[in-house]
């Protein structure tokens, strides 16, 4: 237990909220009354002082200009009206502008956006709806890795043939080689070739790679250290392994679907657990496990605090 305990003093503080308005509308009403509409929004937020609404009993909701008090003479006899006009001018125009600003802040449309347009206004593309994001990340990565000599269009053609090959194959599940958790059941994969491809690649992707720290092991030898991989790099290694196997495979056919068929057959082999890529993954993980002890090496281990 520390010697200085601030909580005792803090507990005695009282935070009082104004009883007559909800926090948000109260703030708008207050600010609407005293701050000009051209003042920036940032300044409004910084204003932490609290002020009274124009007149008691009326709660300005910020959506419509406040209706004038029905019978001011009768209802507000006790308030000094001269001073109220000066300091609390019920300038509903300001309030209206501020309400509009507030609405814009909450992304509600306040203006007529179809004015001057023949058809309805097209939606703006979102952050990840740009031209470069038009393909799924896995499809994009595989396509780019299949590309040779910068012929992207040809690689895309291969990719579409691969996906259509996957549609027509029915893999048999292998309990010894389960797919990555979260992937759909094997029987359902052909209906969704993208999930098929993703499941195959993610299942054989290694989680770690071995990084060599030059000369740290002594005698000029590199100290092998396991290093976790981000998703994209993981997939990259898996795709490269699959491509290596595909390139060594004997071509059994000819024509435009020949390469795609070989690639698709390897994806099928991965899902069915027959592929040699599984062995490569196991080897990579084994090496990583062995090199795990090196993390305690003085060259890399965090120094103990004295």
């Amino acid at each position: 237990m520390s010697r200085i305990n601030p909580w005792g003093a803090v507990r005695s503080l009282a935070l009082r909220t104004p009883p007559w308005s909800s926090p948000r509308s109260g703030r708008i009403a207050a600010q609407g009354a005293c701050i000009s509409p051209i003042s920036p929004r940032r300044g409004l937020a910084d204003d932490t002082t609290f002020t009274r609404p124009p007149y008691p009993g009326h709660h300005y909701d910020g959506m419509s200009p406040p209706s004038p008090p029905p019978d001011t003479e009768l209802e507000l006899p006790a308030i000094d009206r001269e001073s109220m006009v000066e300091t609390w001018a019920p300038n509903f125009l300001n309030a209206e502008a501020l309400a509009a600003l507030e609405e814009a802040g909450t992304a509600q449309v306040t203006y007529d956006d179809t004015e001057g347009l023949k058809f309805e206004r097209p939606e703006r593309p979102g952050q990840h709806a740009q031209l470069q994001d038009r393909y799924h990340p896995v499809v994009d990565q595989v396509t780019k890795m299949l590309m040779q000599d910068g012929k992207l269009s040809k690689a895309q053609r291969h990719m579409s043939f691969i996906l259509n090959y996957l549609r027509t194959t029915s893999p048999k599940p292998n309990p010894l080689r389960p797919l990555v958790p979260g992937s759909p059941p094997v029987e359902q994969l052909p209906m969704n070739p993208l999930a098929y491809l993703t499941a195959a690649i993610d299942s054989v992707a290694p989680l770690i790679r071995i990084r060599g720290l030059k000369g740290a092991a002594g005698g000029g030898q590199a100290l092998e250290l396991p290093e976790p991989l981000p998703v994209r790099a993981r997939r990259r290694i898996a795709i490269q392994w699959i491509i290596d196997v595909v390139e060594r495979k004997r071509s059994s056919g000819s024509g435009r679907t020949q390469f795609a068929t070989r690639f698709g057959q390897e994806i099928l082999a991965v899902v069915e657990g027959r592929s040699v890529v599984w062995e490569r993954r196991a080897l990579a993980h084994k090496q990583g496990t062995a090199a795990r002890a090196n993390l305690n090496h003085p060259a890399v281990a965090p120094r103990k605090k004295l």
């Binding site: 259509n164 052909p190 004997r250 056919g253 000819s254």
Partner: protein, 481 residues
């Protein structure tokens, strides 16, 4: 500068021992030799090293028998079994008509002879009956580049063009006339599928259907050929046997009902009157006998009282030019001098009379098609003349294009073969048809989109106003899944 002398014993190194004898003549005085050799050169020492290594008691760091090998070591290459003869081509040409993973679309009507001539059924996706699938497969109407392999069972869309074509065909056959027609259109607009639908119409109406699936196979010198004795023609013996077998397989129920009526004494096989017409086709598998038998069969078919004939050829451009075959005098053979092609072009040009009614259908192809000014002009002329015939009141306004007077390589035989044909121009789908097709794709589980006005219009527009091949590219071959 370092001295060449030994710094311990003051002895001078003997150049004769270190360097090769051929470079340093023995008569050269030692002082001159020393001035020739660069003082800092190590090449002499290196050259001497192997001689030292053979001695015993050397220091450990010099390894004996290890030589520097420059360049990469060649790995012993694994001997892989090369594909068997024809295996690679079989892979390329394999036709798959079903996909067990696709969802079966139930409740679609079947393709029938009545439905195909009914304009109400335009925009209907129909199921191809199993027997018809077998017939179409036997006559090679399905192509590997078409997308049959994605769907559970073969279905096809009846378009307005299909109905129009089927109507023209059946009307001509009913009147015992000959419809001579060439199907043209943009790339990917569905010409071959329309040809397939014409064949299906023929099968459904119980006509005799003869189909040459690729004109290219007849003229690009990939099929064996031989000269026909006592004639200027050349035959394709093996191809003709295959064609006869296909005709037999597809038309057996009809052909077996008809009997041979003529005497074919010149034939190498025994053909007697009264035997079924079908047995003419399967009696011999000898390639040498194929051409005369096919000719005799063709004569039998054209006798009165036989069923109507549908003769179709895909890839018309390839049979409208000089082939790549050579005659014995090593001159290129014109395609129309090949027996099978002559049979087709005579029928298409109107030289063959079909007393029982007939349809001769040439389907052009835009993939891998040669540029043929003669054929293009002949088709444009035929289309203009057809327009004149159809609208006699406006005939004066329609201009039939003339030959270019400065082009001298026009082929008159092509003009003869295409004289008076009807030209059927295929264009894009209409939007309701596109919608029906896309709904079928979605119901099969291939296209994972909500099929509404927006998607249909989008694909239809991307596909150049409903060019069906482009629609398939943007929907079935999309990697944006």
């Amino acid at each position: 500068m370092a001295s060449t002398n030994c710094w311990r014993c003051l002895a001078r190194p003997t150049q004769r021992l270190l360097g090769p004898a051929s470079i340093i003549p023995s008569v050269t005085p030692a002082s001159i030799t020393a001035s020739i050799t660069a003082a800092f050169s190590t090449s002499a020492l290196l050259a001497a090293a192997p001689a030292k290594s053979s001695e015993t008691g050397m220091s450990r760091h010099i390894r004996i028998g290890k030589k520097l090998v420059l360049g990469k070591k060649k790995k012993p290459t694994e001997k892989k079994k090369s594909p068997a003869a024809g295996e690679r081509k079989a892979f390329r040409k394999r036709i798959t008509l079903s996909n067990d993973n696709a969802i079966e679309v139930r409740g679609l009507p079947e393709f029938t002879a009545e439905r195909v001539v009914d304009l109400e059924s335009a925009g209907l996706v129909t199921k191809i009956p199993v027997e018809l699938v077998d017939q179409l497969r036997a006559c090679e109407a399905f192509k590997a580049s078409q997308n049959w392999k994605l769907f559970r069972s073969p279905h096809m869309l009846i378009r307005e063009e299909t109905v129009e074509l089927a109507k023209q065909m059946t009307e001509a056959v009913d009147k015992k006339e000959t419809l001579r027609m060439v199907i043209t259109g943009d790339r990917g607009s569905g010409k071959s599928i329309l040809g397939l639908q014409a064949l299906a119409t023929g099968f459904m109406n119980k006509w005799i259907v003869i189909n040459i699936p690729e004109g290219l196979e007849l003229t690009t010198a990939i099929t064996d050929y031989s000269q026909v004795p006592n004639s200027d023609l050349f035959a394709h013996p093996t191809y003709t046997i295959k064609l006869m077998q296909a005709i037999y397989a597809t038309n057996l129920p009809i052909l077996s009902q008809h009997r041979v009526q003529k005497d074919h004494l010149h034939l190498p096989i025994a053909v007697s009157r009264g035997m079924p017409l079908s047995s003419m086709l399967n009696q011999s598998k000898e390639p040498e006998f194929a051409w005369p038998i096919l000719q005799a069969f063709w004569q039998e078919l054209l006798l009165p009282g036989r069923p109507p004939v549908l003769f179709s050829l895909d890839g018309l451009a390839h049979v409208m030019r000089v082939s790549e075959y050579r005659s014995p005098s090593f001159e290129l053979i014109h395609s129309h001098d090949l027996g099978l092609v002559r049979l087709f072009t005579d029928a298409l040009g109107g030289k063959t009379a079909f007393p029982n009614g007939g349809v001769v259908l040439g389907v052009t192809s835009k993939g891998n098609a040669p540029l043929l000014p003669s054929m293009d002009l002949a088709l444009v002329q035929a289309a203009a003349e057809q327009a004149k015939r159809e609208a006699p009141e406006a005939a004066a306004d329609i201009e039939v294009p003339e030959r270019d007077p400065f082009y001298r390589r026009y082929d008159d035989r092509v003009f003869d073969a295409l004289k008076g044909v009807r030209v059927f121009h295929v264009q894009g789908l209409s939007r309701p048809e596109a919608r029906a097709l896309m709904e079928y794709w979605a119901a099969s589980g291939i296209v994972r989109l909500r099929i509404d006005e927006k998607t249909v219009t989008e694909k239809w527009t991307i596909a150049g106003a409903g060019i069906i091949g482009e629609m398939e590219r943007s929907a079935l071959y999309d990697i944006r899944l």
